[in-house]
């Protein structure tokens, strides 16, 4: 095949005529992200992440074969935002609890989230109840995480040519199903290959899921970040006045607060430039002064969380949601796909520690009421900034806070930006 030249974002590139755009772009040093395209398989065009414009017409990049003179737009602001939005749709459509996922750290969808800098999703999470199918011999299919990319359809077949994975239903009820009879025919390595090509943690192999420790996983590697000490902060920027900070933990585990304290000796520098108002760190229960910044851990699960959050909005200039729970519900939101009644029954009536024939769920006017689901903070009040992580790295948190309060330059290193 002969080489032809074409243009990506105005830059002249060359590739073999007929070559797949994603591969051709890669050879020319341009990365077009995609979650369904896999090596040389038939283009599926299902995930739509690789949406580009060919001669001003939007198309999935993986379905384009290079031809002479093509003019392709890849990284225009519109396309970058579209790509980000599609990825966000995947996050809200499924139930992606990174901290409890076996594939976390080795997950291509998660990695793409880092690449695109997704801190929160513009769409509300849908919290649809999904099924985990562990009946097959080796493979577990977790529907919570499936993005319906169809990679497994194309790449995994039995040696005698049968499909192992298929779609069931249509519309928003579409799910991937595994054929037990065919799955049993797969060899160990074929099953592991299925898990490997799954861009999320939807396909797992029993007993093989967690092999690498935190820090050594595929997408953990990167340059270490560094923090500029607080005592280096230019005091002129705040006229010698200390900035006031408030913090709280709503439906969270205080893990983010632990991470806040992880700057160790930095704390000594910190109290030089900021003072804490309402926060569990000082045990000040009520706002006594207006604060510059409010740091919120945890989402809104009950009426008390709601009131605290609204009070924060009223008393702080800037609000920052810290951690997955604050941003979209996080682990407490695991209950969002389960009816509230079942949750309460499980906790108070049928638990191991509850009395036999217990029939009363504790209730008192002083006990906050549980909401129908866990809400993200930005569903209740306007949130100005989001810091993802479970918990976010302490460097990450303080870098953001410094940036907001003292206009200190912000750098987030790859290993610090995490959803787990």
């Amino acid at each position: 095949m002969k080489n032809v030249s074409f243009k990506i974002d105005g830059r002249t590139c060359t590739a073999e005529k007929g070559q797949n755009l994603i591969e051709a772009a890669k050879q020319n040093g341009i990365f077009i992200p995609s979650l369904c395209h896999f090596k040389q398989q038939n283009p599926l065009g299902s995930c739509r992440i690789c949406t580009v414009k060919l001669n001003n017409r939007a198309m999935a990049g993986c379905t384009i074969n290079i031809d002479k003179g093509m003019e392709i737009e890849v990284n225009t602001p519109e396309l970058l935002d579209t790509r980000k939005a599609i990825l966000e749709m995947m996050f809200v459509e499924g139930n992606h609890f990174c901290p409890s996922c076996e594939k976390s750290g080795d997950c291509q969808m998660q990695k793409l989230g880092y690449e695109m800098g997704i801190r929160y999703t513009r769409f509300p999470h849908l919290f649809v109840e999904r099924f985990i199918d562990a009946k097959a011999e080796r493979i577990v299919v977790n529907q919570n995480r499936c993005i319906k990319c169809k990679r497994c359809f194309e790449e995994i077949q039995t040696n005698d040519g049968y499909q192992v994975f298929n779609f069931l239903n249509k519309g928003n009820k579409t799910v991937v199903t595994v054929d037990y009879e065919q799955e049993a025919k797969l060899s160990e390595s074929q099953a592991e290959f299925a898990m490997q090509i799954c861009p999320t943690g939807s396909i797992l192999v029993k007993g093989k899921s967690v092999s690498k420790p935190f820090g050594n996983r595929m997408f953990d590697q990167g340059i270490e970040g560094k923090t500029i000490p607080f005592n280096k902060i230019n005091k002129n920027t705040n006229n010698g006045q200390k900035k006031r900070v408030a913090t709280t933990s709503l439906a969270g585990c205080f893990g983010c607060h632990m991470s806040l304290l992880d700057i160790d000796l930095g704390l000594v520098d910190l109290i030089e430039v900021v003072e804490f108002n309402k926060t569990p760190l000082t045990d000040i229960k009520k706002f006594s002064k207006r604060c510059d910044i409010g740091i919120i851990e945890g989402g809104v699960s009950n009426t008390h969380n709601f009131e605290v959050l609204r009070a924060f909005r009223e008393n702080c200039d800037i609000l920052v949601s810290v951690g997955e729970c604050a941003i979209w519900g996080g682990l407490p939101a695991l209950r969002n796909t389960i009816p509230l009644e079942d949750c309460l029954n499980e906790a108070y009536l049928n638990s191991l520690t509850s009395d036999e024939n217990e029939s009363v769920i504790p209730n008192h006017e002083d006990i906050p009421k549980i909401l129908d689901k866990v809400y993200s903070n930005h569903e209740i009040v306007k949130i100005d900034y989001h810091i993802p992580g479970c918990p976010p790295n302490s460097n990450h948190i303080w870098n953001v806070v410094k940036n907001i309060l003292f206009e200190e330059e912000l750098t987030i290193a790859y290993p610090e930006f995490k959803y787990d």
Binding site: T51, N169, H378
Partner: protein, 574 residues
């Protein structure tokens, strides 16, 4: 048995046993040498196939927006009351099963239902009671079903009527006898015939691609799967002039050299199947189909009817081909035209019923006749199915270029306020646009017009449309599958009074993203109506939004959020 007959085989099971059992699925899987889940995948894609036993009478009640405004809820309640069954449930009654279904092409006679695919129209609770009683008493279904007649409310003067003029079978085919494929194609090309399903692709070009293809086999497919809610114009052609479009298919075969044709008929029109079959038989008897048609040497062409099984997206040509091959109706990627890679990989022409019918008339009446009617870019007439708040719902054959205002006068619209053109995937217009013309240059139209008056809730319309799209999406691509669901949630938020100007802006932005990045026409057009309605009915939506909270609070409905807890607590306290 080969894969392409899978749908027919599944219909056999469905009709014989009332459902497709696990054993039927594994038997089919064994025969076709595929995994059982692959067959299951096909079964679950089409909503007229069931995996659990159904009653002797399966009742499909149409839930389209026109039906909703004409009393869908009461009829639904009446069916549930009379049969004692719940919609969507199985195993309740050996006699009846109730399901909702999207538009069944009877918008001019709503509320309407199909009982074992026989039509029952203009339903009232009283009628429902009678029907159910009769069925319980063992009265024959066919003796009590409604006779569907398409009311042709308007045709232009004789020298301008194209479709609904006197039809004599074979009149257009005769012209093939002393002509050549290129000459006939030229006639089609000169009349500027464009795809009447709504995409306006030049028909002559499509046929030429197929003609020039060196594919060893070629196919002509008639898309009689008019699933766009509010559309029933093809039904009128199938019913009144069933020969006309078949002649069009034969002409297409003459031009392209195709030897096999399919009519992909939506299952909702099963009651028209007999009529089509007898027309095909009549054509065989007359020598219009079969071998050496009209004594033209080597002109062989046969037509087979394929029944769909309940899927809107199969109206998309590439999804239709997949369905015809016995697969899930997922549209193929937009890499090739069906004329390049079509049915079973061969060059294939897919056209709408109206396009074929028009082609036949062009050949019969001559392209000069057609070219004298219409506008510069749209020649001839257009069939419209008009429904909603009008005195005369039905079929209108109008000259291209007719204004909405004239149209509203013709159909005697009652204080029209919101007009939906081309169904949910089309566009909506307000009263300031009533002087717009229906033609390619201005307001393109696939054939459906729904008129709503001021008393109708625009939110209800949008909610109905979006629910339809999120259910009927094939499920393959993210923006359509997830995006429509997200927009549906947004409309629900609107209903609860929790939206602000931000939500209006978001709908526009999010709609844009779905339109830009979806895989096929369904997702590319599903947000159209909502995004347009927001822009064109600004006053309406402004009344639906709350002012932004000064304290930067977001609207939150605490009452609903704690309702569940309160009721649980109430029940468990002593």
């Amino acid at each position: 048995m080969d894969r392409s007959s899978l749908l027919n085989k599944l219909w056999e099971y469905q009709n014989k046993e009332g459902y497709i059992s696990e054993s039927a699925i594994s038997e089919l899987a064994k025969t076709l040498k595929v995994s059982t889940t692959e067959i299951e995948g096909v079964v679950t894609f089409y909503h007229f196939f069931h995996q659990q036993p159904t009653g002797k009478f399966i009742i499909y009640l149409n839930n389209s927006i026109v039906s909703e405004f004409k009393g869908f809820q009461q009829i639904k309640a009446a069916f549930e009351k009379e049969t004692g069954c719940t919609f969507g449930a199985y195993n309740e009654n050996p006699l009846f099963s109730l399901f909702e279904t999207s538009c069944i092409g009877l918008s001019d006679q709503e509320p309407a239902a199909l009982i074992n695919f026989q039509p029952f129209t203009n339903l009232t609770p009283k009628k429902v009671r009678k029907i159910i009683q009769q069925l319980k008493d063992g009265v024959q279904l066919k003796t009590i079903s409604s006779t569907v007649t398409s009311k042709i409310q308007y045709t232009p003067t004789d020298n301008k009527t194209v479709f609904f003029r006197n039809y004599i079978p074979g009149n257009s085919l005769k012209k093939l006898q002393n002509s050549s494929a290129s000459k006939i194609l030229n006639f089609i090309s000169r009349s500027k015939l464009a795809g009447r399903g709504g995409a306006f692709f030049p028909t002559a070009k499509k046929w030429q691609y197929c003609k020039e293809s060196n594919s060893s086999k070629k196919f002509i497919i008639c898309n009689a799967d008019e699933g766009e809610p509010g559309t029933f114009k093809d039904r009128a052609l199938l019913e009144n002039n069933s020969g006309l479009f078949i002649e069009g298919m034969i002409i297409a075969a003459f031009i392209t050299g195709a030897t096999k044709g399919f009519i992909y008929l939506r299952a909702e029109y099963t009651y028209l199947l007999k009529k089509l079959e007898s027309t095909l038989q009549e054509f065989h008897n007359k020598g219009f189909l079969g071998k050496n048609i009209l004594d033209i040497d080597n002109f062989d062409f046969n037509i087979e009817i394929q029944l769909g099984a309940g899927s809107y997206v199969c109206g998309e040509e590439k999804a239709l081909i997949e369905s015809l091959e016995g697969k899930r109706g997922e549209p193929r990627i937009q890499k090739y035209f069906p004329t390049e890679v079509g049915y079973l990989g061969y060059s294939t022409v897919v056209n709408n019923v109206e396009t074929f019918a028009k082609a036949a008339r062009i050949i019969e009446l001559g392209s000069n006749f057609i070219s004298a009617i219409g506008t510069e870019k749209s020649k001839g007439t257009k069939l419209l199915s008009i429904s909603g708040d009008i005195a005369k719902p039905g079929i209108y054959e109008i000259e291209w270029g007719t204004t909405i205002r004239d149209l509203l006068k013709l159909c005697e619209a009652l204080s029209p306020y919101y007009i939906q053109i081309s169904g949910p995937s089309g566009s909506c217009i307000n009263s300031s646009e009533f002087d717009r013309k229906i033609c390619k240059e201005d307001l393109s139209c696939g054939g459906s017009i729904m008129v709503f008056n001021r008393s109708r809730s625009i939110l209800k319309i949008q909610k109905n449309f979006m629910k339809f799209f999120k259910t009927e999406s094939c499920g393959v691509c993210t923006p359509c599958r997830a995006g429509n669901q997200i927009l549906y949630e947004k409309i629900k938020k609107f209903e609860r009074g929790l939206c602000t100007q931000n939500d209006i802006d978001e709908i526009k932005q999010w709609g844009n993203i779905i339109q830009l990045s979806s895989r096929c026409g369904l997702g590319k057009s599903s947000p159209n109506s909502l995004v347009m309605a927001i822009a064109k009915f600004e006053d309406y939506f402004n009344l639906k939004i709350s002012p932004l909270h000064e304290n930067q609070h977001v609207e939150f409905d605490m009452e609903t959020a704690i309702q569940e807890y309160d009721s649980i607590i109430k029940e468990t306290q002593l």
